[in-house]
Point group: C2
Chain length 339, copies 2
Amino acid sequence: MRTRVTIRDVAKKAGVSISTVSRVLSPQANDYMREETRGKVLGAIKELDYRPDIRAQSLRGRGTRIVGLVMPDALNPFYQELAYVLEEVCYREKYGLLVCSSKNSITRELTYIDLLESQKVDGIIISTVGLKEIKLNNLVKKGIPIILMDRDVPGANIPVMFTNNYLGGCQATQHLIDLGHKKIACIAGSMNTLSSINRLKGYTDTLQKNGLEVDKKLIKEGKLIYKDGYKLMKELARKSSDGFTALFCLNDLVALGAMRAIQEDGKNIPSDYSIVGFDNISLSSVSNPPLTTIAQPIKQIAQGAFRTIKRWKKQGLLKKEHRFWDTKLIVRKSCKEIN
Amino acid sequence: MRTRVTIRDVAKKAGVSISTVSRVLSPQANDYMREETRGKVLGAIKELDYRPDIRAQSLRGRGTRIVGLVMPDALNPFYQELAYVLEEVCYREKYGLLVCSSKNSITRELTYIDLLESQKVDGIIISTVGLKEIKLNNLVKKGIPIILMDRDVPGANIPVMFTNNYLGGCQATQHLIDLGHKKIACIAGSMNTLSSINRLKGYTDTLQKNGLEVDKKLIKEGKLIYKDGYKLMKELARKSSDGFTALFCLNDLVALGAMRAIQEDGKNIPSDYSIVGFDNISLSSVSNPPLTTIAQPIKQIAQGAFRTIKRWKKQGLLKKEHRFWDTKLIVRKSCKEIN
DNA sequence: ACGATATCTGATATCGTTATTATATTATGC
DNA sequence: GCATAATATAATAACGATATCAGATATCGT
């Protein structure tokens, strides 16, 4: 087993000093070098198939070229797709992405933060379950850029990337109203996250703005998973006396669960119920019928988070940076006009 | 902005030398230490909220505690679930998982290998698109454990973790035969991967073993994605003169696409067609009807790969290690007995 | 009380790189 | 031809940790 190739081996083979090799690897300002020397070095690098050791580089003040992504639920297609686009962003800049799922456990989240801290990652992007202000500020003090997604932590001076969930809730509801629906039910998340609260507020505000009544009986709370969508839709349908004709689901998974429940009962979508989801997960475009939904700006969030990290590393944290990106209505086949 | 906390700061605060701190951090054999001293050090560590720098540790010969996962398609639920269980395995051992999706591009794959090499990861787990023997052996010579999944590369002395795809094909087909089906169609992948070939071979062999004819017209090839499942099922149904009653799909995504096509044509599952998929992705348990499928041993693959890496690092590569794990039939509601 | 051994801690070289500083070589101006 | 500047390379000290070796103190037997 040949041993590891280091900058020393390259220098030896090229017949120059390690400084010269380093100069080829990472040129400084005002660095002169003969083309011939540079050629010799590049030749040796190629011949030995040498790769600089990022750990060693980073010890000398360069970054580790790793960012950590901490998400609460790696089985949720929305986060999977977020991870996917973030990976793409990282790839383009030759960064590695370390994915961590906290599984909604605070302990796990903290353990992962520890790990990322030890790895001295260049930044952490997190949709946090339970990080507190002090912990966050400590991380910042230690020089680790950290970006929040979707959830702000009051008192912490940390950038946050937000989806404009309120707008999404409005868009979904308005779409249904525009199609003539007057009784619109809603399957919501448990009301402990800001994103759920804002989507629901978009829903209720839009109803009221259009002179429609908000009927508490038509709002069901649960976890934003397939199973709960199924279960809660069954509950809603049981009291069909309420006679709603449309349904806004706080995410696509829930919408798909609800669709399943509806179809199981022999009803049709969109003839009997119009449905709008949220997230625009890839599944929603191949469901039966394809689901009308609200697309989250995941590309913008991923790019925004990554760029903020790079800027932060370079120039320090400038000011509290809260960024909102707008959602977009994606019309497919799960809604129908009525009168 | 407070600067980074290092072992030096801890030593200073505890009033000991950095050697002593290091001894607390990573005890050697025959290391003695007074409880009092150890306590002082631990106190200082806690007070300063110190985390050892893995980069520096790894420079001194310890690992980086990172493994890289390279997969061809991060949008395929099967790989997503594989990544999920692998992350769990890593988490338990306090390793980080760097996920890389090659998107079926050889260039991307190579770029990622470069990145992982530079990061000096402790191991690479890869379902490769196009790595060649030389490249692999070079990695090994450089001391980077690499584990293949699903695809062997002839000539390379690299451990491979296999799903027993042949068995899976047999189990699926036998299940349908046991239910009385005589004409069983198959939607296969494009025949350039070993796993597809073996699943299909399981299918044909099992048909023959049971005295049934292999009808080429009932075998459709395509990509193993939802869309192709939909499309190919439509093609199969068009020539309904062939009169098949059951369908084996080479993965669940394809099966779900086929189900959609069947239901769109007003037919029922399992009354009109019995269907078996492959992979047991989480989606398959919530489809309508829930899909009978073949579960891949992803936990075993993930654990096997990880453990092999650790063993390799410790003891070197012992011998060519090809491991097969068996699939398992998961019976749900997409198949029906006929006579 | 002395040396031998056991127990505890510190000084230092090292890992693979880069940044700073120093040194060597060539070119330029007068 | 000689000082000066411009160009090109090398020597060396860090970065943050660990492992080796050496030094200091405590314990013990005789």
